[in-house]
Symmetry: C3
Subunit: 475 residues, 3 copies
């Protein structure tokens, strides 16, 4: 009986819990020491290479509301989107919370170090933080939370923390390579955030995933868990324009990014409702609606500021929504049957494939830019590179990102299988990770009560009364 | 038994599902083609008639956070407010989602065409989109979502899509007439958004509404569905000042709109808690609290920027909250008994009557404006019209809006009764529209289990029948 | 049986409901009259002592999105954080809603009057309202909602309204004394908001709290109620930087406040996950995660703009999270056993102790400020006072705040015990306060049904086993 299993699990959990606590404490000690040595506030954003090259107050005014939207996407958006598992909602939102927080802390350091390594500027080696740093740190969180979607329910918090520790490091490295060396244009991160996060996560999943999790009885949702998940979906949808517009270099790019992202999202949403209706013979699948509707925002990411015709953004959205919906309906079951890849939240469909297409589309859209459509020379936009040169760099970055994500993901997956982590035996189950009383167990107290009523069975009127009293107390 | 009915419904659903899919695909094909021909970005907002006649970046800075608040009101606010139906929450939030998206796409085209027809400017016939366009498109969504509240649970997605297709068209026409011809002042849309949406929706409801839906066992809420609905109510409440202030023409009007809206909302909220407590003899009704508390925001809409004394905004709020609460407690049951009008979410109480009073109040407040209270000549505010002339235009617009809404609503209702739409036989039921496994059916798996316990369990046929009947009622 | 109890309660509720309605109506009448006499809009923010001393539009632009974040913290943040009680969620979010609204209305008057009394300016005695007034009114709501957390489930709405009426008055008095007389620096309100609200609430709780509420069967949460509560926690977490940065006097202070608050929150969140894991032997406690994770935001409040080294904000967060978590795990049960203090939401742990430490830390951080770290003379920051003088004023304000909060709280508690209020006999129970049909009672209709099945139901032991197995599978 379910209610007993956590007992067996308890002893296992305790075995590695001290190791987890020691690791986490050490991590925080190292973080606070490094912050003490390296991190300081930046007040004067006069560096002309900064996205918001206005005077400080305007930088705050322009950037702060956008930063808060991105923050909501991480904590509420990703957190609640993953609550759809009916016996794993607490872990979904709770682990999402702590991972975001720790990655936020770590990224500021990783980024500072890698930028220095890659760019080699003669910089005074202080990591200066401002509103822009906050947003780029949240972007890193997005990549790690995407990976979390792949492994959700199959790793304990210790494993997730180690995964985040490794992934954030290589995310920051890849970001430094793509932006500071290759001069990738990737305003909404289809390549550096979504593709990286998805294929890192899928590689980890391939390594650690117990086979046949699909058939697992707890790998499912219920009525309310899907409503909670809808909160996540909608906040992601609504604030995606903020995610895709923050790094814009000028007002025109910013307005284009916002509107293109909105149009792409409307495109993917309509495509999903149509495609899902076709697959489900006139009904709709909540899984499709919760996830694939967002694919437009992923896919338009890299080129949100490069698309100069609104209808093109709609097209990107239609394609992304259709492809993502087909992914959920056809590809995911296929991959699971053929190669045993089980991807809890379908990150390949929502982030992986749309991310790759986002990269490819960006090469096409950038290649198609002309002085006529832009109003100024294309070379002025790309530091002297022509449209086709920049298009090539986009594809190169995509390749490098995929390579780094997959290689480091596979290695991370192998590390997480080490016995010291003591991965959970009971999958998709909150009771393994959370102290729960009888009222708190997923789906409420009813089963326990009913079970007791049944086992003690009701014959004698005396017992009836007894249960009656029990019910009073419970209510 | 409920669990069987969807099977019967399935075949019906399939019959019209291909028609729905074809309609939706064609609609999107037409939209993308028209976007390709007509829609382009606007970067240079120097047109002096634009609300945000600042340089582009400031326009973004001022308008973007307000736009995001309005977006949250549509997707989360309206979406979750309607989840209160305990077996229709998925459809409430899902249909709200897709309708918002499609109306957003369509409005940009409708608005572009009607503005050209009505104003007859020698404009180069490109529809230029910017942040302001995004917000006005969301305003149109609000009107359609209000109508959705009236028909919720009684139409399938095909019917809703056709309703939105027609309503958005006439919404945009009415808007063009009221603003570009009659020079209506309606910053928060009490007239053009709330009154239009409510009476269009009520007209459709009168035409299509199966009688006696009030007694329908599924037309009810449960503990959690009302908590989900509270998320919607609160986001609508909090972001209503953004809704009512966006089109303000100058900083003074904007600050007045925000504060007047907040005060009117506090007025309606206190009035509702008092009135509901009187009706319920010391208890409170969740229906009143979820809905009528928002009436102040509706009612102050037209005059949010015209009210120069804060206490007047409180009065508008008290009146709106009281009237709306009486509407829910007295008028709605009465209308249903007398004329068979059943309005699922009570849109007449929350949007209809407060909208009409908002229009009337605006005539009074505008009529009372003087150079003394404004600090400048009233004629300068209204392009040379006196206060009483402008007051008259307000009432004229209200009449025109009501006429257009009711006539087009009745026609739409008649169209939606055509057999090709195959309206749902099973009302307020998610299982008709969503693919659901045993865990996902509303109210969880318990009924199935219990039912099995019963059929396999107890011996006497009499008891079986008895429980069977009970379950039916409960479901 | 529970289902009957509300009947008994009904008659009691009715007895005092007319008194409540009369009080509430009178209160609103007085409010609207005073608004009519005293309140007017402020359009011209040229007063150099104002936080946002920019031209009006910029004041709106800078302040409005921040105001909306603070608003979300009140209605959604506090409202949903308190929904964790499984049979009191409606009252939590509903009473939170109405109290916020009424306190918002009252504070504007209280503040206007006290400021005049304390400062004695020759001011023309009009209370001028602008965006800043809206935010300071929401700050007052925060203090009252903190107190609500202490008494939640143990007072009826009449008592809560009277509590808010008294508390808001003394909150505004204390605020006027601390800021206008003592020149306290308290940007995020650790002292004036959190300490005041917590110790006022705890004093009321001590006076009114029925003993042994801890063992009360309804004083508990369930799976979904904790998920709803998580929505509250996360919105509080995300928007806390807005809460702590609004009153900043210059862009540097504002950026520091935002980043210090974020870092302190990450610190408290990591500390809580570690500490909770240690207390729960490898598992986590949802109560800790929902509450103590926010302690960093409370504790860094007073000094958010004074901390010039980012690592110091992390330290404040670690300490606050650790202390708050220990509070929930050790101190709360202890206080309840020893002195019978039962604090429903643990406000002593989340607001009380972190608030006091926030005040003490601010004295230390201010005392440590030098011309070197600031870039300008410390005396210029504090109107001529040295760092150590200002540090002393911080401690003095903390003492005065504690004294006023405790004394007025005790008196309020004694008033609320008067028989005319007829406090609820049935604790933590929504059915006492809300009209509920059979579907709406907390935890749904299942128990009633099951109970009937049982009494009418099962006899044979074989069948018992069968059902037992079924239940296993379902879980």
């Amino acid at each position: 009986m379910e209610i007993d299993r956590p007992e067996d699990q308890n002893s296992e959990t305790k075995k590695n819990s001290s190791l987890f606590q020691i690791f986490f404490i050490l991590l925080e000690v190292v973080i606070v020491i490094l912050y003490g040595i390296f991190v300081e506030f930046r007040y004067d954003p006069v560096d002309p290479s900064l996205p918001w090259n206005e005077e400080p107050q305007t930088a705050f005014v322009t950037g702060y509301p956008v930063m808060q939207d991105v923050s909501v996407m991480m904590f509420i958006g990703f957190g609640f989107l993953m609550t759809f598992l009916r016996t794993h909602s607490w872990s979904a939102v709770g682990f999402n919370f702590i991972l975001t927080v720790v990655v936020f802390q770590m990224y500021i350091l990783y980024n500072g170090f890698w930028i220095r390594c890659v760019s080699g500027d003669n910089w005074d080696f202080k990591i200066q933080v401002d509103i822009t740093t906050m947003v780029t740190a949240l972007y890193c969180c997005a990549a790690i939370l995407i990976s979390l979607g792949g492994v959700l329910g199959k790793l304990n918090l210790f494993q997730l923390l180690v995964m985040a520790f490794i992934e954030a490091c290589f995310y920051a490295l890849n970001e430094a390579i793509c932006f500071d060396r290759i001069h990738l244009q990737d305003i909404g991160g289809s390549i550096t955030i979504h593709t990286f996060g998805a294929y890192f996560g899928l590689s980890v999943t391939m390594m650690i995933s117990p086979k046949q999790t699909k058939g697992h009885p707890k790998n499912s949702s219920n009525y309310n868990s899907n409503l909670f998940a809808m909160i996540g979906t909608l906040f992601l949808w609504m604030y995606w324009p903020s995610f895709n517009c923050f790094p814009a270099l000028n007002p025109e790019d910013r307005i284009r990014s916002v509107i293109n992202t909105l149009l792409a999202l409307t495109g993917s949403t309509t495509a999903v409702f149509i495609t899902s209706s076709i697959f489900k013979k006139g009904k709709l699948s909540m899984e499709d609606v919760l996830n694939a509707t967002l694919a437009g925002g992923v896919c338009v990411g890299t080129s949100a500021d490069q698309i100069v015709y609104p209808f093109a953004a709609l097209f990107v959205g239609y394609w992304a929504g259709f492809m993502s919906c087909v992914g959920f309906e056809v590809l995911s079951p296929l991959l699971q049957r053929k190669i045993g890849l089980y991807d809890t939240c379908g990150i390949n469909n929502l982030h992986g494939m749309p991310g790759i297409f986002g990269g490819i589309f960006s090469a096409i859209f950038i290649g198609a830019l002309t002085e006529d459509t832009l109003g100024y020379r294309v070379e002025d936009r790309f530091d002297g590179r022509t449209a086709s040169e920049q298009g090539g760099l986009q594809i190169a970055s995509l390749g490098i990102t995929l390579a780094i994500a997959i290689i480091t993901g596979v290695i991370t997956g192998l590390i997480l299988k080490l016995p010291c982590f003591n991965g959970p035996h009971d999958l998709f189950e909150d009771q393994v990770f959370w102290e729960m009383d009888e009222h708190q167990v997923p789906n409420g107290y009813i089963p326990t009560m009913t079970r007791e009523l049944i086992t003690e069975g009701m014959e004698s009127p005396r017992k009836h009364k007894h249960h009656d009293k029990e019910l009073k107390e419970i209510e």
